[in-house]
């Protein structure tokens, strides 16, 4: 598992979760969408111990 600057921490196990995916999603508030992507990127994280999943909005750099 690659290290990440600010890993999500599993609320059940307290260990760093694995950031395995980024998905473009389309918020109902169109003003929240990135102008270049047309949506927002959601990061998906899963706990290597218990399998719990969590997500957060990605902080985008320039494309």
């Amino acid at each position: 598992m690659a290290s990440e600057a600010k890993p999500m921490i599993c609320p059940e196990c307290g260990v760093a979760m694995n950031h395995h995916a980024e998905k473009l999603v389309y918020p109902s508030d169109a003003t929240a969408a990135d102008a270049e992507l047309g949506g927002v990127v959601e990061e998906l994280h899963t706990c290597p111990e218990c399998g719990a999943s969590a997500s957060r909005r990605a902080v985008l750099g320039s494309l």
Binding site: N18, H20, A21, S28, E42, G51, S53
Partner: protein, 187 residues
């Protein structure tokens, strides 16, 4: 010890007299016979989803939790007028992040000769956009009114080897994707 895989079976129709019900029950039974797998039937007719909105605004907490826990999903999809059911799409659209990097296989059902193949073909790009990973086996129940007896028992055992191949592929993909979700980081 490896955690059991959770692979629910989603019955994707609310139609009265639906012949997809014995199909879904058969898939639950075949999954239940396999060690290391937990399953349950999720009937879209029993989900309390609103129909005055769509997408994640209609999310049901119980269904969302089932999809979060799931490692893979079997979708039983009857073909209606050459497509999949509208209520199935409505329910699938109520979640998104719950599905990402999880396996899905589709079981097509039809009254006619093509085993729901046209509905499956239309459903595949939807499943992909939801973040699910489709397997390359389907199961197709053609002329379904003759496939089960009045008690819902399978009349033709020839379906069982195909279901076995479908589930083997789905379980392999579920295990592989679980390993990836938990241990392989996005670069």
């Amino acid at each position: 010890m490896e955690r059991a895989l959770f692979i629910p079976v989603m019955l994707g129709t609310v139609r009265q007299g639906r012949m997809s019900l014995p199909v879904a029950r058969l898939m639950v039974a075949e999954l239940s016979r396999r060690p290391g797998i937990e399953t349950e039937l999720i009937d879209v007719a029993r989900l309390p989803l609103r129909v005055d909105d769509a997408g994640e605004a209609t999310k049901d907490p119980t269904f969302s939790a089932q999809m979060s826990r799931a490692d893979a999903l079997v979708v039983v999809s009857p073909e209606y007028n050459h497509g999949y059911s509208g209520l199935l799409k409505h329910v699938l659209d109520s979640c998104l992040k719950e599905y990402v990097h999880k396996a899905v296989g589709v079981v097509g059902v039809s009254a006619g000769p093509f085993g729901g193949a046209r509905g499956i073909q239309d459903l595949l790009p939807v499943l992909r956009e939801l973040g699910l990973v489709t397997v390359f086996w389907d199961v197709n129940f053609s002329a379904v009114h003759g496939v089960f007896d009045e008690a819902g028992a399978l009349r033709d055992p020839a379906y069982l080897p195909r279901i076995d191949k479908f589930l083997k592929e789905l379980v392999w993909m579920a295990r592989t994707l679980r390993h990836g979700r938990e241990h392989i980081a996005l670069e």
